[in-house]
Symmetry: C2
Subunit: 347 residues, 2 copies
């Protein structure tokens, strides 16, 4: 176990740990003594009919989506019980650096989006005794989980709002994962995952941050100096204090564990490899929410999948924040997304 | 001097060498015994009024644009004398690896787009005794040179066709240069430019190739498996035999020398920092040619500059090859660009 002060309840909590036991992975391997970290806002009502599942993106934790939850917002904890499960391998749930023994660090098994969804299903059915979710949502890798939920457990998902992500990782998106993964893993300090100090890969993490800065927002964001709206005085300051500061404290193996899931995400396996059939099996009322200037997941990629989902609409939110509009750092982005949650929940 | 068999006349010729002498750079430094490599197609007519200048992109040589020249094409060597100057630092002109003495390798001076244009001006006026060019064109970094030409020597440039490039490198484009430069320079074998074997940075060059594969074409190129049209059986084969094969034989210092010029390219210095004033000084009939799906230089970036150029039109060529449409590997891309050359030359 490699202590990393970034992944503590002080920074990312409060959260609970759910013991998955020796968790059978879709690969056939077993993740030993697996633990799923999750946060809960609000309370379940008597008939357990007010639950919402909010899944988490690459590199994030449950804390990073909490700004969508609060009194007066669509995800109102006085009305709903909102459960945010952290990804396996995200640094807080069972992860390479917080695992002891034979599965520690570079020997941590490779996981899939399906593994997360199956683990979350276990949490929701065993711990919370849920049979239905008013809404499943999530951004980016959270959208991958959301679509996997809607396809794998259609009877449980009443509404779905995948945001800036697809059920099947596109070839270009996969290439993007290669590029940022290589930016990190090429750091000699990475040592194929067997580093011995929590923060030895700073150079690689900074390079990875630069790749995110390149495609995480859109060209016009920089041209129009929109970093000013984030409170920075220069593009350089934005790079250092936003992008680099985000990734620098993180665990490289955790990031690469999530990256592998991102890249291999493919819910079509639930329909013998037919993406179209898999999507046609979704029964949830679905809003596919895309960001107009998204360079990770262009709206066309979401529109392609949306056409096969029976009760669905595509909703396109314009923002120079591109893929990262979901952070809600621009007021109008938050308002648009919160508004779409409200609209979908009113159906 | 570090011999690299890639940069030989056998691979990139035939070309001539023009001795620039001890060449004063815009930085104030001097490039000692500088040589400019260039190729010529066709012959000058009696009054030297039929010359065309075709400048060269990042990582390329004069040979890489030769497919636009030929009988029956717009750039017909039976009608025009077409001169293709290689960039300084491109591996064939004076470059880090082919320089001896105090300016060799990591001690090669940093250059600017203006340095190339001034060197080319010296070649054209001293060697060819030219006073006018029917057309200056070039792709990507060639567009940067083209616009610098049209701004710096307006009396000489009758027509200009900058293709997929701008007079001032945009902040996002600059970030792109950072990302691919870091992919290469982070290779421990690079040793801050002081490597001792021509091909020791293969890992870094491959990573750089992956960054080009990511943004050089557009997402739909991969989704629609357009690599089939380039003759490849898979995306992996395209990566290996197209992108990696392109960059793998090249000299890292040469690439980073050109990258620096790309990133610092800014013709506004010719009008005291006013890009608008600099562009307004262009007298050439100008076609700003953009590629619709270009992720390096989105059409909006070219349209922004085009609005200030007096006798100009923007021409947008759609192609899933994105920025790399200029290679003309898709027949219709070549036809569109050749057609625009013909149209502009008929004015």
């Amino acid at each position: 176990m490699l202590f990393n002060e970034y992944y503590t309840a002080e920074n990312h909590g409060p959260y609970e740990l759910f013991a998955l036991g020796d968790f059978k992975l879709t690969s056939g391997q077993t993740l030993e003594k697996a633990q799923l970290a999750y946060s809960v806002y609000g309370e379940l009502n008597e008939d357990r009919s007010n639950a919402i599942l909010f899944t988490i993106m690459f590199s994030g934790t449950s804390k990073n989506m909490a700004h969508y939850i609060g009194p007066g917002k669509a995800l109102d904890p006085e009305k709903y019980c909102i459960i945010l499960p952290n990804q396996l391998g995200n640094g807080i749930s069972s992860s390479p650096h917080n695992t002891d023994g034979e599965q520690a660090m570079e020997n941590f098994p490779q996981l899939s989006i399906a593994d997360d969804v199956i683990a979350q299903h276990q949490l929701l059915t065993e711990k919370f005794k849920l049979t239905q979710l008013q809404l499943v949502t999530g951004w980016s890798m959270g959208a991958q989980q959301t679509l996997e939920w809607a396809i794998r457990y259609p009877e449980m998902v009443k509404r779905a709002a995948p945001i800036a992500g697809t059920a099947q990782c596109t070839p270009h998106n996969s290439l993007y994962v290669d590029v940022f993964s290589e930016a990190l893993s090429s750091d000699p300090q990475f040592n194929q995952g067997a580093y011995t100090s929590a923060h030895s890969c700073e150079a690689g993490l900074k390079r990875l941050a630069h790749v995110f800065a390149l495609m995480g927002v859109c060209p016009e964001f920089y041209k129009q100096q929109q970093w000013q709206r984030l409170g920075f005085e220069s593009q350089q300051a934005c790079m250092k204090n936003f992008w680099e500061a985000w990734f620098k404290p993180m665990d490289p193996n955790a990031l690469l564990c999530m990256a592998h899931k991102w890249q291999t995400g493919d819910s079509s396996v639930l329909a013998n490899g037919s993406l179209e059939q898999a999507l046609k099996g979704i029964t949830a009322k679905t809003f596919m929410i895309a960001f107009a200037q998204d360079m990770f997941v262009p709206p066309a990629d979401m529109a392609y999948e949306q056409q096969f989902i029976p009760h669905s609409e595509i909703k396109i939110v314009p923002s120079l924040m591109g893929h990262f509009a979901m952070l809600g750092l621009f007021e109008e982005d938050f308002a648009a997304i919160d508004g779409l949650f409200a609209e979908l929940l009113s159906h």
